[in-house]
Amino acid sequence: MLGLIVPAVLNGLMSGAIYALVALGLTLIYGVLHIINFAHGSLLMLALYAVYFLHVLFGLDPYVALPFMVAGFFALGYALQRGVISTFSHGKDSNILLVTLALSIIIDNLALYFFTSNTRTVDLAYAFEMVEIGPAFIPLPRLIAFIAALIFAGLLWFVMTRTRTGKAIRAIAVEKRGAELMGINVKHAYAMCFGIGTACLAAAACLLLPTFYVTPQVGYAFVLVAFTTVVLGGMGSFVGALVGGLLLGVVEALCGLFLGETLGQIGIFAVFILTLLFRPAGLFSPRGAR
């Protein structure tokens, strides 16, 4: 039995690291802009296609593409927030929600139109190399993804706590008007924040594709997991997203092991609904705080 559970848990942790990375982007945007970005999954899907086409058309290895992808998607996120989301929503919370929903529907269905619903994968020489950890064999790319995701999360933490931009963003999250009075450019900081959140997706996509696939619907599965992670960890909480992501990866792997693939998803939704109902501010927050 242990021989089954340990590999499942380890595999769960590997997927969990990617979930955490996707959730970090979401939680960062929520923590500062106080909006749930419904287009998050669609942007991840877009990033996966970008990595795919960089590989197929230009022979670029996903890991080599990572810095370019991160830069490119940072710019995309910045432009989206500044050019579309803030102007189209007039700054009203409920409208921001609807704008991101509309964006996600547009992006998803355009992808369906241009890329068709075929499942695409990349063939990489190292994709099937295994690493032995205790009783489990873990595919090398998944281990790389796990470590890289944690490094990226550390980097993000550094940016948010040690740089001027990060400090400005956090100041706005706490007290928008006050930060504005201190001369912080709120519009710029919002867009920076959205850009960084989107850049997380680019990194996740580069780490994910070697062992995963891409279809126009792929983002949808991830975004629900990411919502769950963020809710579990507490909206806007950095550590929460990290721990929540890893935890959910394990929950999914164990549910998949015991309930089968399709009902394994139910485990995640159950966690989602239960957390929303009983601890909407997250597992690690004082009760009642919102």
């Binding site: 009203k92 704008v99 929903l101 269905n109 139109y113 919502f227 939704f269 989602f272 929303l276």
Partner: protein, 325 residues
């Protein structure tokens, strides 16, 4: 100021009335089918409008109410051999119950805004996965009703009869909407939308009002589900609980004007008519109509944040609207 809104209502009412009569005089059978579609989506839009429009409870998973009723009717008829009319009536109660249940759970724990949107979305998703996993619900294939085009089976010999049936349902839903708008209950709902704390402080039992609104909305969305099933004699997990249906539910009200009486119907009519025109001109690749809907939604949010009915609102008030939290 009030006069302008009144004129707007009259203009839109006349317009909608004329459109509603078109199938009886001009439209071909194919177009009548299209009109039935619009009416079903109008029903769903009116249901969303009760909670999302009047109450400001933005649901991203209204499909869960639509789908529950559609599945309930189908299962009662197929598995228990219940008469279609009876099954339909029970299914409405199912929709109301599911709505009340989700509402009670969410509001009991004080979920609102983005959190409420998320939890409704999650419920729809859970129902979708469940419906596609069990044989009682037809699994991945969905459920089909046997053909029996008689009124006793709640099926219709002609498209026009079918249209009349759904039109009557829409008129009833419209009457309910007007009644809610004029009632104390409706005033409570609007008060909750504008400022829930203040409403509570004034002694309104906000929890009860919100759960009631979800129950009513559930019954109305359930009507749409039953009408859909009896028209197309088919439902599967994607149609019943998919995000597209949830999206449809909120598009009509947002585009037409959330929290207005005629807005949801106007929105559905305009959106689908434009969508059809676009399809005729660009060609109908899968998903393109949704791209189009998304673009329309963006444009409306950008230029007419109060929806089409907002055209008739005095400008100053539309802009001075307080930010909802």
């Amino acid at each position: 100021m009030i006069k302008r809104e009144h004129t707007g209502n009259v203009i839109v009412a006349v317009l909608l009335g004329v459109c509603a009569l078109l199938p009886y005089f001009v439209l071909s059978a194919a177009w009548t089918g299209f009109a039935i579609n619009i009416l079903i989506f109008s029903l769903l839009a009116l249901a969303w409008n009760i909670t999302g429009g009047f109450g400001g409870m933005m649901s991203f998973g209204h499909a869960v109410l639509f789908g529950s009723s559609a599945y309930a009717t189908a299962m009662l008829q197929l598995h228990l051999g219940l008469n279609a009319w009876l099954a339909g009536a029970v299914a409405l109660a199912v929709g109301a119950l599911v709505g009340g249940f989700i509402g009670a759970l969410s509001f009991r724990y004080g979920l609102r805004g983005s959190y409420f949107a998320l939890v409704t979305l999650a419920f729809a998703e859970v129902f979708r996965v469940l419906a596609s996993s069990f044989t009682v619900t037809g699994g991945g294939q969905g459920l089909s009703l046997p053909l029996g085009r008689e009124l006793a089976n709640l099926q219709f010999a002609s498209r026009l009869d079918n249209y009349t049936f759904v039109l009557i349902l829409v008129l009833i839903a419209l009457a309910i909407t007007i009644a809610v708008r004029r009632s104390r209950f409706g005033a409570y709902l609007i008060a909750i939308r504008e400022n829930e704390e203040a409403a509570k402080a004034l002694g309104i039992n906000t929890f009860r009002v919100k759960v009631l609104a979800m129950t009513l909305s559930g019954a109305m969305a359930g009507t749409a589900g039953v009408a859909y099933l009896q028209t197309f004699l088919f439902v599967d997990s994607q149609i019943g609980f998919g995000t597209v249906m949830s999206f449809e539910a909120l598009l009509g009200p947002i585009i037409g004007g959330a929290g207005t009486v005629l807005g949801p119907i106007l929105g559905s009519l305009v959106l689908h008519t434009l969508g059809e025109v676009a399809r005729e001109s660009i060609g109908g690749a899968p998903g393109l109509n949704l791209v189009f809907y998304g673009v329309v939604l963006l444009i409306i949010l950008r230029f007419l944040p109060d929806g089409l009915m907002g055209i008739f609102k005095p400008r100053s008030r539309a802009q001075a609207k307080p930010e909802g939290k």
